[in-house]
Amino acid sequence: MHAGDAPPATAALDPLTAALRSSLPADSVITDPVRLRTYECDGLTYHRATPGVVVLPETAEQVARVVRLCNEFAVPFVARGSGTGLSGGALPREDGVLIVTSKMRRVLEIDLPNHRAVVEPGVTNLAITEAVREQGYYYAPDPSSQQICSIGGNVAENSGGAHCLKYGFTVNHVEACEIVTPDGDLVTLDRMDPGYDLLGAFVGSEGTLGIATRITVRLSRAPESVTTVLAAFESIEQGGTAVSAIIAAGIVPAAIEMMDALSIEAAEAAVACSYPEGAGAVLIVELDGPAAEVARQFDRLKEICSGAFELRVAADPAERAAIWKGRKSAFAAVGRISPAYIVQDGVVPRTALPEVLAAIDRLSAEHRIRVANVFHAGDGNLHPLVLFDDGEPGAGERAEVVSGAILDLCVEHGGSITGEHGVGVDKVRYMPRMFSEADLDTMQLVRCAFDPRGLSNPGKVFPTPRLCGEVPGVRKGAHPLVESGKAEQF
């Protein structure tokens, strides 16, 4: 059920709103309908709900106070950073409070000898790197939206980015979080502390286990050398072969990205990135690390890409930016060639890429829906852009069918329905295709430990909320993947 299905319940929020007003600064509580509507969706714009109340706390203590009041009045709450998420994770509740962290934007501490920075959740991803770049450091996870997305949102979604192939995800770079628990307590989860790895469970829990109010991230030393290569191939198969050969050669590039002809066409139309003409696929490979190592890997890479009809090497940061420009603008660019589109985020084992791409082609032809493929080829994270004309009757439905079938392909090949965008509301209904009821119930034991009343971002991640009073029973029957012959059980 989407939050939007419920009738507006704002009147029921009146007592809570009054309590919020008396405990927060006047301009931190928003009830004006016009202003409320600006928060009705995140980056996934086809799910919308006007929040009952919006609060803009300035401190962790204020966040805790809001959450405690929500508990007192049994009102659900949703946290939101910059609202760039692509799965509706920050979709508000009409009967709830939206807690926006945009006023919590201070970088609290930079500690280079310990490779640490301490920041508030509203700080943007890129701002961390900008604060330490001159000293030769950076914050490694780099989602495409890094100029605007907030670190609090990154923590909630366990964000990745193009360079996570080598460097990992948000969870690998967060050392500690102060959180407000769904009960309204301030608790610090720290990797150094003994006990359960609650920090590891919290990062990526999509706001369902509480709200991060202070985040300690690890800073990485900038690499001595970076080499960015654009290789143009006649076909996507040739590009795929090159990807496999790079991995087989024992090279772990910082990034391997691939775009097909349709997405290149879109990028050309939008930003004139001047990729080689007539390419069936382009591959962007970035090598980084010690200069001597990068030099040797680059020699090997040139041999591997000998099938490319053109190989460009960025000579300086400006040329590197030019190579990345087409890739980074690809999502927005498809707007130039299609009135509407759905972005998917499925993952397949890298070796299954050729088979899955061929199957996507067949789906595309069968349903008369164009699919542009832009993806993190190194880690098998597909970002198929399913294009359709929302003015054409039935096209949206066909696009939905293709979109869902692509996720099925991912699960069938042992992959995942989401590599970095999160489940949110968007992929809730696909969760049972990937996990058994026992799997989902077990995950919800964690939810029940943190949030027995189910107030923290309800309706996200899990298709069926678990009643926390229940004692789990032993599940009978086989795992869905086993049942369908897609996995063996040993």
């Binding site: 000898p113 310990n114 640490r116 366990n158 990745g160 995800f169 628990t181 610090t188 720290d190 150094m192 502390d193 003994p194 006990g195 359960y196 790895d197 609650l198 590891g200 469970a201 990062v203 990526g204 030393r221 690499p223 991995i247 087989a248 090279i251 772990v252 690390g289 010690p290 190592e293 030099a295 084992p349 070796t351 993190h376 880690d379 098998g380 994270n381 042992g414 992959g415 989401t418 590599g419 970095e420 999160g422 489940v423 969760m431 990937m434 996990f435 026992a438 799997d439 077990t442 995950m443 034991l445 964690v446 430990a449 943190f450 991640v461 004692v471 789990p472 032993v474 059980q489 040993f490």
Partner: protein
């Protein structure tokens, strides 16, 4: 009578079972029976009987760290996972491996090396996949590659009621659902049984070099900070101080292409000698003896080697190293570990009394961020120290194991 009934019920599962003896003790507590399941379903069957009969159990892999943690409140069944020893799938093109919990890390290393790959964890000799995860033991290269939780991408667990559950999968990039793997990593068997695990792999490095130098303790911090910041990108920086008041040996590892040139770059920073192999103490806990004898790998059961009785672990921000070195010297502890990851292991020189250990640990806690005592024969030495999020952890334990049958009392706060 009820013992007889419990035994009968366990027998009915068809899982191999034997009576336990002193050698099966879990931190000094001798269980009644040892069960040897061969499949995930058999683990589930044993756990269902344990649930019906209210039997407490503890899982064991190689047994190399079975003496770690507090003694369990009760332990009826030792769940020996040695028979779940299959490497289920090595997808080399995807750099992923899926293995059963009882596979030894040595066996896994050998199988992966045959394909030119590795799991970049430096596990203790004789340790298994399940035991390495359950104790979250991290070796020297965790500085570059992370700890077990960072390389684990999927897990199958069996809960106290017999439920078999999975999270993650076999692709590295995956954010669908909660990450139970992280929760179970380092949980000391108190939440359930780890049955299978899937890991992210790395290509075996083309080459390796160690830079080894011996310095006065007051120089170590500055050296460690410089090595950690070096763009030659060492995979590990470790120190060894066998004499509590003596000098410190610093060793840094570079691996990959051009390791030779990069080791020379590190020598510019730190001085010392470049060597093609590690120093003898590399990757060992200070209570381990360096390996002796030259027999073929795997011939001697390392697990059977008597382990040290006392082991202290300290965690600290790397810049606080000097305080740690001073505190360890004053306590009379030798130490080994990573100054750049902020994790050192300490062990007393010779015998230590309960009072002396308690005093030394209390002294360390006053000066160092986090001090735990994984191994100690003494009851009155507080093993885990204060844990900020303990109330939340207790709630997690209550949800996963409401009957307190899974290694009860072994972990923080008697969880």
């Amino acid at each position: 009578m009820s013992q007889l009934k419990s035994r009968e019920s366990l027998d009915k599962t068809g899982v191999t079972i034997r009576d336990a003896d002193e050698g099966d003790a879990v931190a000094g507590v001798v269980p009644r029976w040892v069960t040897l399941p061969e499949t995930v379903e058999e683990i589930s069957a044993v756990l269902r009987v344990c649930a019906e009969q209210d039997l407490a159990l503890a899982p064991v892999g190689g047994g190399t760290k079975l003496h770690w943690g507090r003694p369990p409140e009760r332990c009826d069944v030792l769940l020996d996972l040695c028979c779940l020893n299959e490497i289920l799938e090595h997808a080399s093109g995807d750099l992923v491996v899926r293995a059963q919990a009882g596979v030894t890390m040595d066996a896994l290393t050998a199988a992966l090396a045959a394909e030119g790959q590795e799991l970049a964890l430096d596990a203790a000799p004789g340790a298994t996949v399940g035991g390495t995860l359950a104790t979250a033991t991290a070796g020297p290269r965790s500085f570059r590659y992370g700890t077990p939780r960072d390389l684990l991408i999927g897990i199958t667990v069996v809960l106290a009621d017999g439920t078999i559950a999975r999270s993650g999968g076999k692709v590295v990039k995956n954010v669908a659902g909660y990450d139970l793997g992280k929760l179970f990593t380092g949980s000391y068997g108190t939440l359930g049984v780890i049955a299978e695990a899937t890991f992210r792999l790395h290509p075996l490095p083309a080459d390796r070099r160690w830079l080894v130098t011996r310095v006065a303790p007051e120089r170590v911090r500055e050296l460690a900070v410089a090595l950690a910041a070096s763009q030659a990108e060492p995979s590990a920086v470790e120190i060894d101080r066998p004499d509590p008041g003596g000098p410190v040996t610093v060793a840094a590892l570079v691996e990959g292409s051009a390791a030779d040139l990069r080791a020379l770059a590190l020598r510019e920073v730190a001085g010392g000698e470049v060597a093609p192999g590690p120093p003898p103490w590399w990757g060992l806990l200070p209570d381990d003896e360096p390996p002796h004898g030259t027999g073929p790998a795997g011939e001697t059961p390392d697990a059977a080697r008597p382990a040290g009785e006392v082991l202290v672990e300290v965690r600290f921000p790397p810049n606080a190293l000097n305080g740690v070195l001073d505190a360890a010297r004053d306590a009379g502890f030798r130490l080994r570990g990573s100054p750049v990851s902020g994790r050192l292991h300490l062990a007393p020189v010779g015998e230590v009394t309960e009072e002396a250990l308690a005093a030394a640990v209390a002294g360390l806690r006053e000066r160092v961020a986090v001090v735990t005592v994984p191994a100690s024969p003494y009851e009155r030495v507080e093993r885990w120290g204060p844990v900020g999020a303990l109330p939340l952890m207790r709630r997690v334990k209550e949800r996963f194991d409401p009957g307190r049958r899974m290694s009860p009392g072994r972990f923080v706060g008697g969880i």
